[in-house]
């Protein structure tokens, strides 16, 4: 859905309509192989496991992927812009606890609590970006510090509090398949449009490709970078809100290692770890691949430990496939 790379078969007839069509076609070309892999994996489990064949299962794959997929949309933007945010798992934890406090303790209306949570996530994300651009410390370090520090903040905030039993209106955000799926698709669509159709969005590719060139071309690199991290924090917050709504209670121990799963989904989808290339459509598919495998294996009674081994191998294999594909054409 969102990818600005164009394949090498170039258009010869200029003009706007053909451009849009062409663009769409190229985007689809980029995506179809990952999509085919997803379909293949789904088919394998479909054949192997009878209970897997229900519509409910299919829906629940989407539903379960939704939270991490929303988080991973933010990760996609940050990675495209050449950044890295290891702290989104901890932002997730802080926002979860904060929303819990806003709802259960301060008894704010749902919409206000949600807005508050999103604001906190965006602020923490922006803080990561601000520290980076202000100090010049690499993203890995800043967000490793954030990973540690924000976790401490979540624990302190949650300590001694019982944060559960939220209003029904809030729970709806995470319940069932429909709403989480809806949020997931909406988040991916908006992020995709942001990345491909807006000024700030397409600049992410330029900054991720070559920050210095972008700066010299007059792009406000620092300010833009802060925005991408802010968007990453915002989407992490949205994911946290969905999870708190789904579980109906908040705890500081949430979100651990989510940043790694999100990065895994992003790269399985084919976005570059090194910036300048990628799109959220692919990320969505990457997350669905991981989720299909997890759900499929547990339907077949494969234990968590074996699932871990499978996921580890899939991550490497997916990227290898991408590397191999690029090298042979």
């Amino acid at each position: 859905m969102a990818d600005t790379r164009n394949s090498s078969t170039a258009v010869s007839n200029p003009g706007a309509t053909s451009r849009s069509l062409d663009r769409l076609r190229h985007e689809f070309m980029q995506i179809w192989q990952v999509l085919a892999a997803l379909a293949l994996i789904y088919l394998v489990f479909f054949l192997l496991s009878p209970p897997f064949r229900s519509l409910d299962t299919l829906l629940s794959i989407f539903g379960q992927a939704a939270i991490l997929a929303v988080l991973a949309c933010g990760t996609t933007v940050v990675l495209i812009s050449g950044g890295l945010d290891l702290s989104v798992g901890s932002i997730f934890a802080v926002v979860g606890v904060c929303v819990g406090i806003l709802l259960a303790e301060m008894e704010l209306p749902v919409w206000l609590a949600v807005l508050g949570g999103l604001g906190i996530g965006a602020a923490l994300g922006a803080l990561n970006g601000i520290v980076q651009v202000a100090t010049g410390v690499p993203a890995f370090i800043v967000t490793l510090g954030g990973l540690t520090a924000y976790k401490g903040v979540a624990e302190i905030l949650a300590s001694g509090r019982d944060l559960s039993r939220f209003p029904d209106g809030f729970q709806a955000l995470g319940s069932g398949y429909v709403v989480p799926m809806g949020i997931m698709f909406a988040a991916a669509l908006l992020t995709g449009l942001f990345l491909t159709r807006t000024r700030l969005g397409i600049r992410a590719f330029a900054i991720g490709g070559n920050e210095e060139v972008a700066r010299l071309a007059g792009v406000p690199v620092k300010r833009s970078r802060v925005c991408y991290y802010m968007l990453g924090g915002l989407l992490a917050a949205l994911a946290a809100i969905m999870e708190v709504a789904k579980l109906n209670f908040a705890m500081p121990a949430r979100g651990q290692s989510y940043e790694l799963f999100a990065i895994a989904a992003v790269v399985i989808g084919g976005t570059s770890l090194f910036g300048g290339r990628g799109g959220v459509g692919k990320t969505l598919i990457g997350m669905l691949i991981m989720q299909t495998i997890t759900v499929g294996l547990s339907y077949m009674g494969v234990g968590t430990s074996y699932q871990r081994i499978a996921i580890g191998i899939i991550i490497i294999a997916a990227v290898y496939w991408d590397v191999w594909r690029r090298s042979t054409r």
């Binding site: 600005t4 790379r5 164009n6 090498s8 170039a10 258009v11 010869s12 200029p14 706007a16 451009r19 849009s20 062409d22 663009r23 159709r197 807006t198 000024r199 700030l200 397409i202 600049r203 590719f205 330029a206 991720g208 490709g209 070559n210 210095e212 060139v213 972008a214 700066r215 010299l216 071309a217 007059g218 792009v219 406000p220 910036g275 300048g276 290339r277």
Partner: protein, 257 residues
């Protein structure tokens, strides 16, 4: 050609910690001329133009544009003043299409609420302007949606130079536009430089190629170890003199102020 100065820089210095990369250099660019900047590696040529265009902060020095004091502290300031620069090795982003490279930093947003509020882009208009530009400059690139890295060194340099025509209202600054280009590509690039003049631009060009200085430029300034050592009209010098000035075997006591 008039001798009215477009850009005047006075006493430009740049220190990196203890290293003096640029020491009190004056520069005058006259309307409609092509000014060459030559000098050994590390003489401070790139540093000079970066300091001029606000790409790096100056340690000291003032800049006058069109006779008035100008505050040029960032690439954006320079662009706003009508100065367009092609930096050495830093002209294009490999990972993004030619279209986006040309408009990078100056994307055109739609002329409606979507554009104003969300910065939604007007791709149609940008594509049209690029095609017109390439047609005008006789740059034969049709597949403008391909990533920049798919193009040859010569094509890339042509695209970079075309930006100066599109956006440089007054001044184009070029840092080694032909380095690493082959004979034919160099030729193409220098022809483009010449045509910049026809489009009403004044040009500053850094080069190591004395032939290009002699054939395409009006005046030449020589930097040595961060200082300005000589300024000459091209008619007054030959290649050997220039090399002598560059290497320091000939003393050149001209100041450009």
């Amino acid at each position: 050609m008039t001798t009215h100065p477009v850009l005047e820089a006075r006493g430009i210095s740049k220190h990196y910690g203890g290293i003096v990369a640029l020491d009190n250099v004056d520069l005058t660019l006259n309307e409609g001329e092509v000014l060459a900047v030559v000098g050994d590696n590390g003489a401070g040529k790139s540093t000079l133009i970066k300091a001029l265009t606000g790409a790096i902060p100056r340690t000291s020095g003032t800049i006058r544009f069109d006779g008035r004091e100008a505050q040029i502290d960032s690439p954006t300031d320079a662009k706003a003043a009508g100065i367009e620069t092609v930096y050495q090795d830093l002209a294009l982003v490999n990972e993004i299409p030619i279209t986006q490279n040309v408009f990078l930093g100056r994307e055109i947003v739609r002329d409606d609420w979507l554009g104003r509020i969300f910065g939604v882009l007007d791709f149609k208009r940008m594509d049209r302007e690029i095609r017109e530009l390439f047609a005008k400059l006789d740059i034969r690139i049709t597949d403008i949606y391909r990533d920049a890295q798919a193009f040859s060194g010569g094509q890339r340099q042509a695209v970079a130079l075309s930006k100066t025509v599109m956006f440089g209202k007054r001044v184009a600054i070029l840092d080694e536009p032909t380095a690493a280009l082959g004979v034919r590509e160099s030729q193409m690039a220098m022809d483009l430089v010449r045509s910049l003049k026809d489009h009403g631009l004044s040009v500053i060009m850094i080069t190591h190629n004395m032939q290009h200085v002699l054939n395409y430029c009006d005046r030449v300034m020589v930097l040595r170890l961060g200082r300005l050592t000589a300024v000459r009209r091209v008619e007054e010098v030959d290649g050997d003199t220039l090399v002598g000035l560059i290497t320091g075997t000939i003393d050149g006591d001209a100041q450009d102020g």
